[in-house]
């Protein structure tokens, strides 16, 4: 009995969770949980502030890593075995279809949730000082998500994959000077073939996930270091209230540098001085905080399970598509890029250079520059009407282009409503 207690105590060193000290230590002493603060503001737990979209995205990524590793056990990245492995997964691997469906739907879900998360952060003005750089990291994570989804799209090696990647990489090749070379570097040749498959595989299972994990760590770290979650806009005080953003309050006396005593050793806590970054630090706010355990953790756990069960339910009833074996000699009409690039393809159909190069480059640059161009410190919706309109138009235009590209484009990229069946389109 004593031995069991000893083992338990060697693992869990904290005080019982019934005490405040125990609740604090649960966070501090645990490597996985200590990215959380020990106490969080109540208002930041509100669902209607963040919709937990960042968490959902992260949990989808966890599902993708787990199912992805399992899928790697059944996949050979060279044609045509790659396609045969897909069929085997579907027909003979135990729970194979479920596994692949989960990976597929979680991947699509992640693209959607990353985008929604970005919109949330924009509309709440949470990219503003001091969080500018974390927005930049977020945009990179969006690009990485698209890259992961795009590289994964080729791996089944069916007609859908082959032509989507052919179209997708063709869009990239419209870039002036380097476009062609860039495409060749990515494909390992002039067209999508064995070389492209192995390169996309390496990017998909090693390079991009590694970059994703590293940047995600930075992203989370910066959330804490930039002052935690932004406060909900409905809690913002009046315009003139001074916000304390970096270091000590502005009116505080400057830090005194004292001569170090020769016979004293210093811990890290004593060297770093000043208060941590908070947007507003006032005495009454102390009362608005609660311990992360259980308030934050139980909410995160609910979101995790909601995400997992949603993906599982979808995977049980909806099968991921798998078309014929890739055939370079047989172009489907129309050949379409993955859905999240169909807005781009729609633009390209009007002008290859403007739509394929200028528009996406401007989009990414504009996204990266938003926190630095927007000098207005106010996060209130009423103070940022113009920018909100511009961003809304950007989002709606993107969605509209994707909808048109996905549902309204038929053979020869002609405008065909989805309810009209085109006869002989496949011939």
């Amino acid at each position: 009995m004593n031995l069991i207690r000893e083992i338990w105590q060697s693992i869990v060193r904290r005080d019982p969770l019934s005490t405040d000290k125990g609740k604090t230590e649960l966070v501090f002493l645990n490597v996985w949980l200590h990215i959380h603060p020990a106490k969080v503001k109540k208002e930041n737990l509100k669902f209607r502030h963040t919709f937990y979209l960042g968490f959902i995205t992260f949990f989808l990524f966890l599902i993708l890593v787990t199912t992805g590793i399992a899928l790697m056990c059944y996949y050979r990245p060279y044609p045509p075995q790659a396609y045969q492995d897909m069929k085997d997964l579907h027909f003979v691997v135990f729970m194979g279809p479920f596994l692949r469906n989960m990976h597929r739907w979680a991947a699509h879900g992640m693209v959607v949730c990353v985008f929604l998360h970005m919109c949330r952060v924009f509309y709440t003005g949470s990219y503003k000082k001091p969080r500018q750089f974390n927005w930049v990291i977020g945009v990179m994570l969006l690009l990485l998500t698209l890259g992961l989804s795009f590289t994964g799209y080729l791996l089944p090696w069916d007609q859908l994959a082959y032509w989507a990647i052919t179209v997708g990489t063709n869009i990239g090749s419209y870039a002036p000077l380097i476009g062609g070379q860039l495409r060749e570097l990515l494909l390992g040749g002039h067209s999508v073939g064995e070389g492209a498959l192995i390169r996309f595989y390496v990017l998909h299972v090693a390079v991009l996930p590694a970059a994703m994990i590293l940047l995600t760590i930075v992203h989370f770290w910066r959330v804490r270091k930039d002052g935690g979650l932004s406060r909900p806009i409905w809690k913002l005080k009046d315009k003139n209230e001074e916000l304390v953003t970096i270091g000590a309050p502005a009116q505080a006396a400057p830090l005194q540098a004292a001569a170090a005593s020769k016979d004293k050793t210093y811990g890290l806590m004593e060297v770093v001085s000043g208060k941590p970054i908070f947007e507003t630090v006032t005495a009454e706010e102390e009362e608005d905080t609660v311990f992360s355990y259980p308030y934050a953790f139980v909410r995160e756990a609910v979101v995790l399970m909601a995400t997992v069960t949603t993906i599982m339910t979808m995977s049980l009833f909806l099968n991921a598509p798998l078309e014929e074996l890739a055939n370079p000699a047989k172009t489907p009409n129309p050949a379409k890029a993955p859905w999240y690039f169909l807005g781009l393809q729609e633009l390209v159909s009007h002008s290859a250079f403007l739509g394929g190069v200028v528009a996406p480059a401007l989009m990414v640059l504009a996204l990266l520059a938003i926190p630095y161009l927007d000098r207005n410190p106010s996060r209130r919706l009423g103070d940022r009407k113009w920018l909100l309109w511009i961003f809304t138009i950007f989002v709606v235009a993107n969605l509209a282009l994707i909808v048109v590209g996905t549902f309204f484009r038929g053979p020869g990229w002609a405008l065909v409503p989805p309810w009209v069946h085109v006869v002989g389109g496949a011939e």
């Binding site: 045969q84 069929k87 027909f91 135990f94 729970m95 399970m305 995977s315 078309e323 011939e427």
Partner: protein, 463 residues
Amino acid sequence: MERRLQQIFFALSFLALVLILAAAWQANTPSWKIYQHNFLQLEAQEEPNAITKAAVLATPPEIHQVLLPGLQRVDRCTTCHLGVEDPTMKNAPEPFRYHENLGPHVPAKFGCTICHGGQGLATDKESAHGKVDFWPNPLLSKEYIRASCGRCHKEGEVPGVPELTEGRHLFETQGCRGCHKLNGVGGSIGPDLTGEGASRRSPDWLERHFLTPNAVSAGSAMPNFHFTKEQARDLTYYMLSLTNEEMGSYFSSLRLIPSPEYGRQLFVEKNCIACHSIGGVGAKTAPDLLGVTKRHSIEWLDEQLVNPELVYPGSAMPEYDLETNARKALVAFMASATPEDAQAILSRKARTMTPEEIAIEAGKQNFARFGCVGCHGTELQGGVANPNAQGGEVPSLLHLADDYTKDEVLAIIRNGRVPPLDNANGPTPPLYMPSWKKVLSDEDINRIADYLWSKQQKQKDAW
């Protein structure tokens, strides 16, 4: 609120567990297990006592598959079609019935899909029979199944499938190659037919297409050849047999087909003619082989090939270390071998023709083989409709020499030509003369010209 959230968490966790179990249950109850269970019950009925019955019923379910690595095929059909190789299942209900008349084509070595089509990788009925989206080869219907013989038996007459022989003959004599490429040779006006048997088109589509090309693909440039129903069917058989996959060579590389052709190859390879003769043609040091299969039993011949000295003490015949199928093939060849075969093997053909005759004959053969006859006609009469080309049809070649020199004709064959338009603003005529310089050697082209001129002469004399 907090209590409610905890309850939701536990409810969702329970739901996740249920979903995983549901997925596992779904994965664990595929339809093929039900078929195997039914088959075992069928088998158990025959068992005399309870113990063996129970033993049969206790057989664990498993996927059966035939791997054809050289063809990138895996056939799992026998997972459900469990009785195909079991003669006692002759009257069993499908999918368990015995497959009669297979001859040497045992499913264990040939799989099923190379003849039947369908999706060998699949393990449920709909997908396996290929009648689903995104699978190009559904099961061939009974009516057309024999066309598949031609996928391996690419040459000569296929026993029991006269349609194939006739289809091939039509293809090579009606000039189909003029527009269609097959195995790298032919024109590019129509689609390449090399893998036609693996395309999505149904036999029904093909047959209607041969009868009236425009009926199934509107605006097709293909002329109506006025084939009879039988001819359309023969051609359909031939089309269905066309495949990119090297099936015949795969199986003969595995030495699975003891065909007379393979036997003949071996006969040449091993230089049997150096000692033996057939009907008096060949060397006389060893027995004549004409009718040898009638004088001795198959078993005797087989034994003789394995170990000549054992059958004939003192025999000078060496041991050739031949495989079972190679020996069968040799015997099959000997059963059909004639003195002419021996002559051909010995001499590799030498005919008595003048050099001019040879050139003209070769030209004539090229003219048919490369499909010129498709548009210009077997008698050079032309006349195939070609809207908006001058004269509205493909020109006759019988009066060439009146308008062109031989060099000009050679240039037209080499470089091709778009026909002059009837109405300059009208549509481009569907048919044109393709460029042949990449397909035919200069020598071949010269011979075709020789052939054309041989025909001109007669016309001029008559005129």
